[in-house]
Amino acid sequence: MEGVVVGQDQQQQQQQQQQQAGRVMVEGLNPAVQQQLNLESVKTRAVSLFKAISRILEEFDAIARTNALPKWQDILGQFSMVNLELYNIVEDIKKVSKAFVVHPKNVNAENAAILPVMLSSKLLPEMEVEDNVKREQLLHSMQNLSVASQIEKLKVRIDMIGAACESAEKVIADTRKAYFGTRQGPTLLPTIDKAQAAKIQEQENLLRTAVNLGEGLRIPGDQRHITSGLPGHLVDVLAVADGPQSFADSSGTYLKNTPPFSSSNVNSQGALLQVSGALRAAASPSGTTSFDTTTASPLQHVNSPRSSANMMNTPSPQQQTHQQQQQQQQQQQQQQQLQQLQQRQKMMQLPQHQQQLLAQQQLRQASIPGLGQPQMQFSQPLGAQQFQGRQLASGALHHGMGQSQLNQGNQLNRHLNQFSSPMNTALFNSAQSTPTSQMISNMSAMMPSQTLLPRMQIGMSGGTRNLAAANLSDQMFNMGGNNPGMMSIQQQQQQQHGTFANMSQNTQNLQQGMMPLQNTPQQTHPSFQQQRPQGQQ
């Protein structure tokens, strides 16, 4: 209550002061206000009110000092009188004070202190500085002129800016219309003739099916050759031996060009794998049947003195006793001569590839009168001495194979014959024995067609061991029908540059007559290819 009374008091004083100041200004302007409000009476009433309030406050002080019980009824009565008087004064002032007086409605202890600041029309110091700076900028050029002219100039400026904005908007609108007008003009023609619309529709369908379904984008299988150079992003992705695996069509390409095999096994890569796997699985533990597909091959080891010896010697009793074992594998060897038999017997101990080489030699030397027994036999591994004693026969034979290599191969063969896994055996043999070079050349001889070479090469990739280049280059297999593509494909193989280069020279020398013998080894190549990493490990 005290606060309220004090606030009211302040308010009254404020109002009085303002009113007086206003009156000074208003005096000249608005005499009617004076008639409305008798300022003197307002002042008198305010003063008497002030006195009454101070009297009440003094009474409160006295009561508080003496700690006497205040007579509340009296005090309340005095308070209501004071309140009523204040209310009347404020009402009178309100009528005329709107023009120049601010009358705060809610004055309490909180905002009593800040009211003067809030009511003041003076800016905060920093705002005032900003204001001055801007004003300075604006009126810099016009300070010398009078205020009125300054106002004129400012008005002109504002008008100019307004005009510029309007013209800019206009330009944008015009340009937009013109732009759309020219674009939409031709197509907004209602007469898009039916033919054109139909054409567009047809083109659209073409495009949609191409994107979503791939219609019209498929290349027929026979055209799926990687003929030109691969783009950069595919070079290292596709130039791997495993490429055909992810592109069955391209592998189909490889297969397409292969000459039809007499065996039914080679029609697809998968079939190859299956067949070779079956063949291997069916091999007997003795290892003799592990070369199911190759035992039939009369190819002889290229550089093996055995081969030459076979050609020169008659079959040993050992060899002849085993002739019955491989009857089932001799389907294509019916016309082979005894020389081939001997060679095959030797080859049994050799890795598959070596056997192929031997068979090739046998074929080449078909002119040698045969022994009439078309079936090959695979005897137990002969002693190394037998091979050492042999010599390479004619210059037609490949020389490069040293005896040491043969010995190595023999020992390995004997060892490997005990392997239970025929596939591993074959691969292991091929991988470990140095006669690999001969195997390679045999294989290449057996596959005159270009497309078979990749498989062969792949199978060979594990065999790059100490292959003397001289061995291969000396090999004189007369493979007349070899395509130069063989060489190119070989060259593409990244792993065995040297080997393949040599091989290519050799394979070209291989005779065409070797072809029938190639079926079986080819069948096993993929398996070799896949097994090789296992075998090598």
Binding site: Q184, L207, H225, T227, P231, H233, L238
Partner: protein, 190 residues
């Protein structure tokens, strides 16, 4: 899942559309040159035939590979109501060795997609692609690709969505497509 709207535009208007899209999307275009290899699973492998796409982005200095699987479009009453195509889509970045590792898949067809794209946000992440689809005549010869339809290019508006929020994605894409339809030519179709 993704929300897809496909349309076509005549090649002569592509430039104008590019300017319009730049204004509408507020971002700059990104050039697009993607070699798409579409692989199909080998027959008898798995229960159903499946296809995946390998996308090689040739625009980057180092080609980047992405594998993408797109499923069939959403069907049913919900699909009838909306004017866009919703279909499941899974995408992932892969290394360049992905091609070799995709055993059991063989190349069905390949195409080269050349054009530009705008990626922006308008309620949801939206991508507008204007591209010409080129067919590759010889295997992998991306330098010798010719357009399938020389006079028409493909416009695709795509936005990723999930089964929960696809309604608002659909709304965003639909409204955006209306803008384009208004601004663009009357050849636009859905």
């Amino acid at each position: 899942m993704e929300c897809v709207v496909q349309g076509i535009i005549e090649t002569q208007h592509v430039e104008a559309l590019e300017i319009l899209l730049q204004g509408l999307c507020g971002v700059h275009k990104q050039s697009l040159r993607i070699h798409e290899l579409c692989l199909k699973s080998v027959p008898n492998l798995g229960l159903v035939a499946s296809g995946i796409r390998l996308l090689c982005d040739l625009e980057q200095p180092q080609p980047t590979w992405t594998v993408r699987h797109v499923g069939g479009p959403m069907r049913g009453a919900g699909a009838e109501r909306i004017s866009v195509l919703m279909r499941p889509m899974v995408e992932s970045k892969v290394s360049k060795n992905a091609l070799r590792l995709l055993l059991g898949y063989k190349l069905d067809h390949e195409q080269l997609r050349v054009g530009f794209a705008f990626h922006f946000r308008r309620g949801t992440q939206i991508t507008v692609t204007v591209s010409s689809i080129n067919k590759i005549l010889k295997l992998h010869a991306t330098d010798e690709a010719v357009p399938v339809t020389p006079g028409i290019q493909l416009v695709e508006v795509t936005a990723p969505a999930s089964s929960e929020n696809y309604a608002e994605v659909v709304a965003s894409v639909s409204s955006f497509c209306e803008y384009i339809a208004l601004l663009g030519e009357n050849i636009w179709q859905r």
